[in-house]
Amino acid sequence: MRRRPRGFLAALVVAATAGAALAQAPPGERRTGYELLGPTTKAMQDDDMANPGMLWVLDGEALWARPAGSAGKACAGCHGDAAESMKGVAARYPAFDDKAGRPIDLEQRINQCRVDRQEAPALARESRELNALTVFIARQSRSLPIEDVVAKDERLKPFLEAGKALFERRQGQLNLSCAQCHEELWDKHLAGNTISQAHPTGYPQYRLEWQTLGSLQRRLRNCLIGLRAETYAYGAPEYVDLALYLMWRARGLPIEAPAVRP
């Protein structure tokens, strides 16, 4: 229920960045999707006993402790207490992976351990198990600031640029770019939704519209479908590049997984 006059500041921002393709909200102007929520949805996210995403966190906690694969090892067998070993991990993904020669997201990192260390089949994207493990790990980073991973690892730079290009490219039958909605029109309404700045702070998240928990890639897919653009297959490098760019834009904002969104 926040209504803030932005005209003057916005004009300043535009003036200050004249010549730049699009004005990115400066650090002080960055708002997570949480800040745009109504009071009831905020209350639902804030209360661990009312946040439905916590049901998946419990699932993830159980999976963490359960031996799997022909190695017969549990995540906990190698990583111990996730509150220690996984703290801050979600705040610095996607991360560069030597084997892949490119950034991978947290889901892909989990599946690497599934396949290489547990010797179990990879978990399918959007499966309850993979979302549960991911949200359980992301939960261990709650309220920690998103790291500027690109500043720490030069190898990520070309992928950041690729993600930025995807974000700013007009696409789909509606011929819109992500930036047009999420940088120029945030705080405005699209049907029943308040458009946010698209910060990936709360994933995997519980979306009331989905009636379930879903990943960032599911959200990105939804936006692409909204633009009537072609979607990528789950796990595609384009999604990871986009995620890297979104995380970089959101650097410094706190992780809030599992977030609740309308």
Binding site: D48, M49, A50, P52, M54, L55, L58, L208, Q211
Partner: protein, 106 residues
């Protein structure tokens, strides 16, 4: 398996009105939605919930297809004596989940 989250104040004064919250994981498939090939997905919902306080029913409700997935209920009861609150959800396809929580009344 369905996870449930229940919230009961661990301690209360005798005669105090306490708030109880019960959240459970369930798809609540309405029976009216077609899948991607146009075939109706069979109904799969929780049909009833009850809460027993030392064996006495203090809250009960029926549930219907229009309820959202992962139903969340909040209700109140009077703290009368120390003991156990039992929660029972039942539904389609033999769905049955029980949880319990202790309350200490002074």
């Amino acid at each position: 398996m369905s996870r449930a989250l229940i919230s009961v104040p661990p301690k209360a004064k005798k005669g105090e009105v306490v708030q109880i919250k019960a959240l459970i994981q369930h798809v609540m498939e309405t029976g009216f939605r077609p899948n991607s090939s146009g075939v109706l997905l069979p109904r799969d919902i929780i049909t009833s919930f009850k809460c027993l306080y030392n064996g006495t029913e203090v809250f009960a409700c029926e549930m219907f297809p229009a309820m959202a997935a992962n139903p969340f209920l909040t209700f109140h009861t009077l703290a009368t004596e120390s003991g156990t609150l039992e929660f029972q959800w039942t539904g389609d396809n033999g769905f049955s989940v029980k949880e319990s929580a202790k309350i200490q009344v002074e």
